[in-house]
């Protein structure tokens, strides 16, 4: 390739550090072929446009939430009142509902997903691991609204008849399990979320475990470790990646909309009981956006959207970095899509 231009100092480059750094010819036309330059520019344009979309996304939501930002400032995050009629808008009940339902989902989903991933990578014979792995992946292909439908008509009645009375009977001394048993509330929301994020966490943990070198397993086995002890060595090796997978699941749980909206009860309140109806940020957007009358109401909702965007973007970014750190160290390339 003829792109090894000698670095002749031109008047422009001798003047300062800023002029030396970048040269459009080196970036876009290193081969000197017109077709190449056009091709490069087109692809670069697509990538650049995507970045622009993300920036516009933040900008547009920020501008449209200005009325609410001006009116409530930081108090928006700490106020418990959400009253479209009186024009008071506070996000705390939604933040509470989002955090509690997501944590509940993680609590159930993390051991389950780890178990499945360990089974698929470390223990199951190939002939079992492949079909079972595919079936678990299929769980991720089911749309949120379908989970919601199933949640309303199958899961919620089941929990109301069997699980919630049981919890209320034996653990009712905890404020968590007091209150009306209706099947619609935080508890059901957390469980449906747990089912939905399990295939996502499983998929990433699977890739992380598969990226741990075989030599680690061989070394443990050679020292006389049992199958489970070997697995623990592998888990230790993949720990940062597993944490990444869990955070990725958390990000998904925070943003899940339809299924949660359909089973969580949609009431803007903060209650210690998991059986009470609650509300998440995503659900209030789904429910009230089209009905929002008045500039302030709409802008409060858009501000919630902005908050949701910033939180999930940060959470996902952190997770990706963790997962990458493991996968790249081990040379595995298949990580990072979920």
């Amino acid at each position: 390739m003829q792109n090894l231009q000698p670095n002749i100092p031109t008047p422009a480059t001798t003047h300062g550090a800023s002029a030396r750094a970048w040269n459009w010819r080196r970036t876009f036309a290193p081969t000197g072929n017109t077709g190449d330059t056009v091709f490069r520019l087109a692809l670069f344009g697509a990538a650049f446009f995507l970045m622009l979309v993300v920036l516009v996304m933040i900008g547009a939501m920020a501008v449209n939430s200005l009325p609410s930002l001006r009116q409530f400032g930081f108090g928006f995050l700490t106020s418990r009142v959400w009253s479209p009629i009186s024009g008071d808008f506070g996000a705390l009940p939604f933040i509470y509902g989002t955090i509690v339902s997501s944590l509940l989902a993680l609590l159930i989903s993390v051991p389950l997903s780890l178990g499945i991933a360990i089974f698929l990578v470390e223990q199951a014979p190939r002939g079992v691991a492949r079909p079972v792995g595919f079936l678990v992946e299929l769980l991720a292909a089911i749309p949120s609204v379908v989970y919601g439908l199933w949640g309303i008509f199958v899961l919620a009645p089941f929990l109301r008849e069997w699980i919630e009375p049981f919890l209320a009977r034996w653990f009712g001394w905890l404020p968590l399990f007091r209150g009306n048993v209706t099947g619609i509330g935080l508890f059901t929301g957390g469980i449906i979320l747990a089912i939905m994020i399990t295939p996502i966490i499983t998929a990433v943990v699977r890739d992380v475990l598969a990226a741990v070198p075989v030599s680690q397993r061989e070394a443990a086995l050679a020292l006389g470790a049992t199958k489970w002890e070997t697995t623990r060595v592998v888990l230790n090796n993949g720990a940062p990646g597993i944490v990444g997978a869990i955070i990725l699941g958390l990000g998904r749980a925070i943003g899940e909309t339809m299924a949660v909206t359909m089973v969580i009860g949609n009431r803007a309140q903060i209650s210690a009981s998991l059986f009470e109806p609650a509300y998440t940020i995503a659900s209030v957007l789904a429910n009230e956006f089209t009905e929002a009358t008045g500039e302030l109401y709409l802008s409060a909702l858009i501000e919630l959207g902005l908050i949701l965007f910033l939180v999930t973007f940060t959470v996902n970014g952190a997770a990706r970095l963790l997962v990458w750190s493991v996968a790249h160290r081990a040379g595995g390339g298949a990580v990072g899509r979920a």
Binding site: T31, G35, L112, P143, V145, F289, A334, A338
Partner: protein, 283 residues
């Protein structure tokens, strides 16, 4: 000092712990598969008992008068077509950029943002499209819905495209370059055809994924009770129709929600299983 029997009992203990844990992981896997079977079983059971030809072709009617999801099926097809026309070329272009020129700092940022974008909730994308398209147009529209779905699609397509292109052997590239082909000819004429089937499967999975999206359509495409193909008008979709039927208080509409779900899930499972059948590689 450890006696022989102590060592033996420790070994026994370790062996028991190992088999207990092995069994537990198997139970976890079994549990997940059971849930899948329960969900799909219910959809098949409740959906099949409510589905009919008239249901598939009719428009929604007031409760008690029957009605169907014909306009929602048409609407979903229009939305998916629009999203694919915009999202697939765009996503593939970004993917090719990342694979072919993906070494610099800007490319790393693009890759990171693209990855992170796949985790941004689709309802947020709905809010965004509402602010930039629905507000200025003063109307919900199929166009806005299609754009929202395209934005959901782009990062997924981009990342699978990049991975598929990276699987193409370097020797193929080198061969073409050695024959004197310029780089753009190498990419479009040699690398892309070699990766085409992988890119196509990625595209199909992306279509399957957005065909199940509801949240970004709620306040962009909105929904409609009529047959519509005009992009500047609100349009119905299967998913929003399922949602509306499901949260209604009428048993008749609940049955319709299950039947519509059966249609949607048939489409999604068909795509997923076909992809699996035709590719040995894990997508």
């Amino acid at each position: 000092m450890t006696s022989d029997s102590q060592i033996k009992s420790a070994a026994n203990h370790r062996r028991t712990a190992s088999s207990v844990m092995t069994t537990l992981t198997a139970i976890c896997a079994f549990f997940a598969v059971t849930i899948l079977a329960l969900i799909i079983g219910y959809i098949a059971l409740r959906g099949l008992s409510a589905i009919s030809f008239q249901f598939l072709t009719d428009t929604p009617k007031p409760v008690g008068e029957g009605g169907g999801i014909g306009n929602a099926i048409l609407g979903s097809l229009v939305l998916l077509l629009l999203a694919s026309v915009i999202g697939l070329p765009f996503g593939i272009a970004v993917g090719v950029y990342l694979a072919e020129f993906g070494d610099g700092r800007f490319a790393s940022v693009v890759r990171f943002v693209t990855d992170t974008l796949t985790g941004v909730p689709s309802i947020v994308i709905g809010v965004f499209v509402y602010t930039i398209i629905v507000l200025p147009m003063r109307q919900f529209s199929a166009f806005a819905g299609g754009i929202a779905l395209a934005i959901v699609m782009i990062p997924i397509v981009a990342r699978t495209t990049e991975e598929m292109i990276r699987l193409v052997p370097t020797s193929l590239r080198e061969g073409a370059l050695a024959l004197g082909a310029p780089q753009w000819r190498v990419t479009t004429g040699v690398v892309l055809p070699a990766a085409a089937s992988g890119i196509a499967t990625g595209a199909m999975l992306a279509v399957a994924r957005v065909s199940g999206e509801t949240a970004p359509l709620l306040f962009t495409a909105f929904g409609s009770r009529f047959f519509n193909v005009y992009l500047d008008q609100p349009i119905a979709s299967l998913t929003v129709q399922i949602y509306n039927y499901a949260i209604s208080p009428y048993d008749e509409w609940h049955a319709m929600a299950w039947a519509a779900t059966l249609v949607l899930m048939t489409l999604i499972l068909a795509i997923n299983i076909t992809v699996r059948f035709f590719t040995r590689k894990k997508i």
